[in-house]
């Protein structure tokens, strides 16, 4: 068995593989005894859980080591048993069994399927578990009288798989049914196309060599019988689309497609009944098959991106720790009522707007306000839902919960704006209108010209034109090119929810960036130094032995300190006193330094105040009893920020910063990036961001790049909303595009890719229009018969398909996208 062999497999004694996950075991954890080596306690616990339950076969089934160490959380998952929660996520079968779908973190291979599906033998009352590996979803059926869902989740947790309830089930079920129907339609259209084509070959023979009328009639009727269901069920997709577009007086590619299909089918029907003339059933069915396949590919690709974003969203914990007289209980956030007392541990998200009852902590409000500096909270202070408790445990009394919280109101704003946004017609759809008009005019012209020769032939040629110009390649051009681009984008770390977002990104306008996270690296750096430069090495030497973030930033900026004997005395929250090679160095806040050396010169004091106004943290440096310099520390810019902004500008975008951070900090950041002061707006509330975005949106295209709940409304209100790495749940839901890797350079990559994808679409459209022009010219000359149509149409489609999949719009990510 694999477990026993695992340690001996490694050739070197220093590289011992973990018996559970196969990663290298840190040297300190390798013991000489009989015990199996584990890289961490998580793996040990999971291995023990698997072993105790007699499931060692898991290791035999495994064909690849786990990608990451196991991390069982030991949570109670009690919130899963809440009746209100179950009403929304679970359903009951007629036989009294309950069923639900869970999203599992960490399932990755065949052995995981085996392990997860062993659950019914581990938890009494669980009837069936089936894992859908590609989507990481487990379908669970259990007897509610004998087992609880939290028990199932706890068991999965012990085995190393974290379970999350799968939200939005109704939508998923509808989508899945629609997918199945679409697949069945494609099957029908494909079978019809293949069979009609086989029959058509016999008819082509008849065109060339002549055919006895009773056989011609047989083949025509057989083709008609096969085409009819494909036309009604398969083609119905396009007729419904065209009708819906006509009713709201917009243009859509479905319209010319429907015209061509109806013309081809009607002519075939008439000629079959009267027993003379050409039938185009082979072209009609092939058209339906190809176009349906194109739609299906596009659907799948877009769905992939939307699913991934939804998955990320569902990872957010929706629970609160409710304090009751008899203990603390996990409840779903939705079940909290005003007046409830909840515990918020360090690292937890505050579940409701409320007042701190006990405890003191720092609160990260950046998701809500955009302000990057943590805020102190003490008893009596108001804290908002969605903010994160950073340092220590708090107890809060909820005042407003659920939709009444500030976050809840913002979420409603987001929803309203998501709905209100008018759909922008894709280039192909705008083209469709002109296309229909041109085709109808040409058909009329053909009829008029040929009517002078022979009315019967005039009808034939006009109908042949309608059929041969039916925009098969044109209909495939956009969906295939965009779905290929969206697929490539997903592999490069961009989750794009719709093709229209890509097209809109190529119409430049205003681009607003949220400062936090996109432009800055999120770590302190030395940004300003005023005064005696000779004091720098001394200061660095003094700070070299401190672990304070400011000290590290100084050492990183100055470089290796001179090799001098150093003794230091550090004062928490004040500064540092050091003796460096016989000289006395004092560094710290103005108050700290002046308390050690007496008054600081007015000039330095003024500089320090200026730095503080710019949003930097000033540190005074005194050498031998006199203050000589002042250093300013702040969040450093990303290395690639300046380059990336230049790239954005070359695409024609006017770039600005729209941030909730303090205005002076935003101005200073903007100045470092070379942005006009007018384009750097700080201290903007979420509502203010939305107003700005809408104001710009009225004048043209506007793109918002953000990551927090405070940006969500603006993301939804913008022409295109881009959520960046590390974003909040609401931001993900509101955005059109989610960038899974950090940095503004990724946004520039995205714009490059969008331009390339739209270029591919344009070339596709041009190619297919060329084919249609050729077809129209041939039809007007009276040279089109079913054979010509049958050659021209697949040829144009294959060109477009090949061109779409050959194009590379998005390069591969150099690093795997991180979550």
């Amino acid at each position: 068995m694999r477990i026993a062999e695992a340690p001996s497999e490694s050739p070197l004694a220093t590289a011992v593989a973990c018996a559970h996950c196969g990663l290298e075991v840190p040297a300190g954890r390798v013991s000489e005894g009989k015990e199996l080596p584990f890289c961490c306690e998580g793996c040990r616990a999971v291995h023990a859980a698997i072993h105790d339950r007699g499931l060692d076969r898991y290791y035999a089934y495994r064909d690849a080591p786990a990608p990451a160490p196991a991390r069982p959380t030991g949570r109670s998952y009690a919130e899963l048993d809440d009746p209100g929660f179950q009403a929304r996520t679970c359903w009951t079968a007629p036989d009294g069994l309950a069923a639900t779908e869970l999203f599992l973190e960490g399932v990755h291979c065949a052995a995981c399927v085996w392990l997860v599906e062993r659950l019914p033998s581990l938890v009494a009352g669980v009837v069936e578990v089936r894992l859908d590996l590609p989507r990481s979803r487990a379908f669970v059926r259990w007897d509610p009288r004998a087992a609880t869902l939290s028990g199932v989740a706890r068991q999965l947790d012990a085995l190393g798989y974290r379970a999350h309830p799968s939200r939005g089930r109704e939508v998923q079920v509808l989508r899945r049914l629609e997918d199945r129907r679409m697949l069945a339609r494609i099957g029908l259209a494909g079978a019809a196309a293949a069979n009609v084509m086989a029959i058509a070959f016999a008819l082509y023979g008849g065109i060339v060599h002549g055919m006895e009328p009773e056989y011609a009639a047989l083949f025509r009727w057989a083709s008609l019988v096969v085409t009819l269901p494909a036309m009604i069920w398969g083609g119905g997709v396009f007729f419904r689309g065209a009708w819906a577009a006509l009713r709201v007086r917009t243009l859509h590619m479905d319209l010319p497609i429907s015209v061509g299909l109806v013309a081809g089918f009607t002519q075939g029907l008439v000629n079959t009944v009267r027993g003379a003339g050409d039938v185009y059933f082979d072209s009609v069915t092939a058209l339906i098959f190809l176009l349906l396949s194109g739609r299906y590919v596009q659907r799948r690709q877009q769905r992939g991106a939307a699913d991934a974003a939804e998955l990320l969203a569902s990872l957010a914990p929706g629970t609160a720790r409710l304090i009751e007289p008899d203990g603390i209980r996990d409840v779903p956030v939705e079940a909290l009522l005003p007046g409830a007392r909840v515990e918020v541990r360090a690292g937890d998200t505050v579940p409701a707007d409320g007042v701190v009852a006990t405890g003191r902590s720092a609160i990260d409000v950046s998701l809500l306000s955009g302000e990057s500096r943590p805020v102190e909270a003490e008893p009596g202070d108001l804290v908002h839902a969605g903010t994160v408790n950073l340092s220590s445990r708090l107890e809060i009394v909820a005042q407003r919960t659920g939709e009444d919280t500030r976050v809840g109101r913002l979420a409603r704003l987001v929803e309203e704006h998501g709905r209100r946004r008018a759909p922008i017609a894709l280039a192909a759809d705008r083209l469709a209108g002109h296309f229909v008009a041109a085709v109808l005019v040409l058909a009329a012209l053909t009829f008029v010209l040929w009517a002078r020769v022979d009315v019967g032939r005039a009808v034939d040629h006009a109908v042949a034109l309608l059929i041969v110009t039916c925009p098969c390649a044109l209909g495939l051009a956009t969906p295939l090119a965009f779905s290929a681009a969206i697929g490539q984008a997903a592999r490069a770390g961009f989750l794009i929810k719709g093709a229209d977002a890509l097209e809109k990104l190529t119409h430049p306008g205003r681009l607003w960036l949220d400062k936090t996270g996109t432009l800055t690296a999120g770590r302190l750096a030395l940004l300003a130094w005023w005064g005696d430069a000779a004091a720098k090495p001394l200061a660095a030497a003094a700070e070299a032995h401190s672990s304070h973030p400011l000290a590290r930033a100084l050492v990183a900026a100055v470089g290796p300190a001179p090799d001098l004997p150093v003794t230091i005395v550090e004062t928490q929250g004040g500064g540092i006193e050091a003796a460096v090679g016989g000289r006395a160095v004092v560094l710290g806040s103005a108050a700290f330094v002046s308390s050690r050396i007496g008054a600081v010169s007015a000039d330095l004091d003024r500089r320090a105040r200026e730095l503080a106004l710019q949003g930097l943290t000033p540190v005074l440096v005194a050498v031998d009893g006199a203050a000589v310099a002042v250093a300013g520390f702040g969040d450093s810019l990303r290395d690639d920020a300046v380059d990336a902004l230049a790239r954005l500008r070359t695409h024609g975008w006017r770039v600005g910063i729209l941030s909730g951070d303090d205005a002076s900090i935003v101005q200073a950041t903007g100045a470092r990036l070379g942005l006009a002061p007018d384009d750097c707006r700080g201290g903007v509330s979420p509502e203010g961001k939305l107003a700005t975005v809408r104001e710009d949106g009225a004048r043209g295209s506007v793109v918002m790049v953000g990551d927090g709940i405070n940006d969500a409304a603006a993301l939804a209100g913008a022409t295109v909303g881009i959520a960046v790495h590390g974003g909040a749940e609401a931001a993900l839901a509101a955005a059109d595009i989610f960038v899974t890797r950090p940095g503004v350079a990724r946004v520039a990559d995205l714009l490059d890719g969008a331009h390339r994808a739209v270029g591919t679409v344009r070339r596709n459209l041009a190619l297919s229009l060329c084919y249609n022009l050729t077809g129209a010219a041939l039809a007007m000359a009276g040279l089109v018969n079913p054979i010509v149509a049958a050659i021209l149409m697949p040829l144009s489609s294959v060109t477009v398909i090949a061109h779409s999949y050959r194009a590379r719009s998005f390069g591969r990510a150099e690093a795997p996208p991180c979550r």
Partner: protein, 61 residues
Amino acid sequence: MSVMFVLLPLALLFAGTALGVFIWAALSGQYDDLDTPAIRILHEDDASAASGSGQGAKAAP
């Protein structure tokens, strides 16, 4: 050649049957997950497993 009048409808009947089976399979969700069943078949049956409902059980709609 008159055999065509029998053969063609017969051939279409066969094709129609196969198509019918495909449509049934697609609509009943047989194509929802193409990866996991391929893995599941490789697992040995163990006597203790209570999940013997096997292929009879249908996935959620």
